[in-house]
Symmetry: C2
Subunit: 437 residues, 2 copies
């Protein structure tokens, strides 16, 4: 995409109202604009990142055998009365009345709706197990929205729901998602640590939060230093026993949020105990028959008797991840995108848009990169080189490819790695080959 | 995807409350379920179709140079007070009050918001022209929602907005979208005819609706028989003059909705005049400075003076298109999906799941089709062949591949084309080659 035809409003100064680095950088780099308290429009660059994260999340859900559907944003209040949560939920639920005075709400989560949909369709044990998920905008009317998309009101969430015949099956489904989540975060360039968690308004007795370490995180976390190493995630998730052993092996290493600290385990960890701050990027729950029983869901079991399915739910904050990734990956010049979620792979800089030879060479390389399927943002504006470098560093594309008259005279362009700062001079063809690999 | 692990609740009987064929078939084929009046959950099969249509729409918007972003569903009422539409819009606008008693609304369209976003970022003539679009859920509180997703309340729309320095530029942007729309519908397997339209609450003095012919359509339409032929759409959209000539050439052939009939032109068409019923699947508007002036948007022109941009807006009902395509493409057995939007390309039927050789052959072909990237729905259930055929005909995948013991004894499988009913016997390898082509 040529910058002269794009919409990328960057800011030189940090906005006064942004308190944390991801919020500042998302505004400065033109990723989002606030349209109301806690509500954001995703500008083209931010939208591309959001879609890439969504796609990684989707691929790992599909790989785990979960089935995608899409539930609407608005829900009837009556559905939430069936579970008893309509009155219990409190002022974070955005309650709406339509033109016929019917009570509705903007869904903050979907346990009730998915249970109703699956209840009306599933007949027998052959219809189980199933895990269904969707990626949809949710709304929670936070009393004080802040930190940009990290604690916004309208946010994009992937939420999955599992239905099993018995508790052993449900635990297998839970473990499947447990591993799918670790795979997802690894692909996004994040190290996320699962920590035992309270179940809160969702209910149930088994729950984990996934926390990304970041010095600017919202809460204190404590963990064994083993969590700082890479973990192999190549377990056979279809083998329930092997999977349970794998998950138990992982969670044998201590990790806890402030509310869940365990003195004995911390003492056992000794010098291996680490403290940091963290950001929650996922939360999974097993809650048995809480919703299926309340909403009258049952299927015929193999022996002909009725079975009330065991359920779990599994959430990842997709829009929140954009902020979390920036918190975990930036420097004083701007964002440093992991390649898997970068809005473009390459930023191509024409140093002299007023120089015909330089522009011809840049145009040519842009055409070749595009033809090779390399996602390229081409800064073809007639601006100073310094401003172009600053913009590219700010928006944090993994590679910068710089074309200037001096280099061209020697037959070379400059390739810069945004994360390491390493610069290489090479021929345009070699640069093309390197970036298309 | 194996049907034994999928979620595809088909119905044998037509639901009593569905009046039109697309609504009946969408319920029967397990594409959607109603969750509240005029609000639908998209089940896995329907969700796949929705995403495919969305992707075709996106690709043609990108090709036309439009830039994707994503605005939120909820908007502040104050934004709509700037244009004067908050009070004018009427009861179709879903008005919402948040916990701090701030007035909000669920966006039915986004002229105000995009104007505010672009106004705050665009500085000079160099920032124009731009066309920005998003694909987002909208809400219109229809007094009597009906016809399934064709007239629902929560619906998915692609809406684009163009900003130009002058009226000639705006007309060029309008014509670009005009052609992009025709390309989009052609790729979706639809013949859509542009018809001059009223501008309604959007305002402005130039507008076209795009209408798909369907005997079950919502309104009467009249058109020259030339519109029944294929149209070449290979004009150079960057050449404003050539594009205008092309668009004028198209619209020289008469086409009008009931409200816009022209007796003289109908008389001139003579025997070539045709009448049908139609479904609106898109609407484009040029409305000059209506929103930019009201909302104080201006940029510095090339001569240093302020310019108020000329705007247009361009909508395609993505979720409505699912229904419109079914209205235009079905038979008495079910849906007949055009290949570009089919949820899967192939339905693989194992006629005898209780026969080890038959199942081994079907499993093998399923693995090979999947490895070749052919989207395949594999009916591996232990059910009668007749029920499997009926389901496949109902859900309308373009190809059915049938594996049975008799054929296998002769080394053949049967390939059926859903649209034509044509059946071919061929070896499994030949079927694989045909479907992977």
């Amino acid at each position: 995409m040529r910058l002269t035809r794009h919409f990328l409003p960057v800011m030189k100064e940090s906005p006064a109202d942004a308190q944390i680095v991801s919020h500042k950088l998302m505004l400065r780099a033109g990723l989002v604009r606030q349209t109301a308290a806690g509500i954001y429009a995703w500008l083209p660059l931010g939208h591309r990142v959001l879609r890439k994260i969504e796609q990684v999340v989707r691929e790992e859900q599909d790989r785990a055998g979960a089935i995608e559907l899409l539930m609407p944003t608005l829900q009837p209040a009556d559905l939430w009365r069936q579970s008893g949560r309509y009155d219990a939920y409190g002022p974070e639920m955005l309650r709406i009345t339509d033109r016929h005075d019917r009570e509705m709400l903007f869904g903050p989560t979907n346990e009730e709706m998915i249970t109703a949909i699956f209840r009306d369709a599933a007949r027998s044990y052959r219809d189980l197990p199933r895990t269904l998920y969707h990626i949809q905008w949710k709304f929670r009317d936070e009393v004080r929205p802040r930190f940009g998309v990290m604690r916004g009101r309208e946010f994009l969430m992937k939420d999955a729901y599992s239905f099993d015949l018995d508790e052993a099956g449900a635990r297998h489904s839970y473990n499947r998602m447990f591993v799918a989540y670790l795979r997802t975060y690894a692909r996004l360039g994040l190290r996320a640590i699962p920590m035992q968690a309270d179940t809160g308004p969702i209910g149930g007795d088994l729950s984990h939060e996934f926390i990304v370490l970041a010095p600017t995180g919202e809460s204190d976390v404590f963990y064994h230093t083993n969590w700082e190493a890479d973990r192999a995630l190549d377990v056979d998730a279809d083998d329930a026993e092997a999977l349970q052993t794998f998950v138990s092996g992982l969670t044998a290493d201590y990790a806890a949020t402030d509310e869940k600290r365990d003195e004995a385990r911390e003492a056992a960890a000794g010098d291996a105990l680490k403290q940091s701050r963290g950001i929650e990027v996922g939360h999974i729950f097993f809650f048995g028959t809480k919703y299926s029983a309340a909403m009258g869901m049952k299927v015929q079991g193999p022996d002909g008797t009725d079975v009330v399915p065991q359920m779990g739910s599994y959430g990842i904050g997709v829009s929140r991840l954009v902020g979390a990734i920036i918190e975990a990956s930036h420097d004083d010049k701007g964002i440093v995108w992991p390649e898997a979620v970068a809005p473009y792979k390459v930023g191509l800089i024409n140093m002299r848009a007023d120089d015909a030879a330089c522009t011809a060479a840049a145009d040519d390389l842009y055409a070749k990169l595009t033809a090779a399927g390399v996602e390229t943002l081409y800064d073809d504006r007639d601006e100073r080189g310094g401003a172009k470098f600053a913009t590219m560093d700010l928006i944090g594309l993994p590679w910068q490819l710089v074309i200037g008259p001096k280099g061209l005279a020697n037959g070379v362009v400059e390739l810069k790695n945004r994360a390491t700062g390493e610069k290489t001079e090479l021929s345009p063809d070699a640069a093309l080959a390197r970036l298309s690999a």
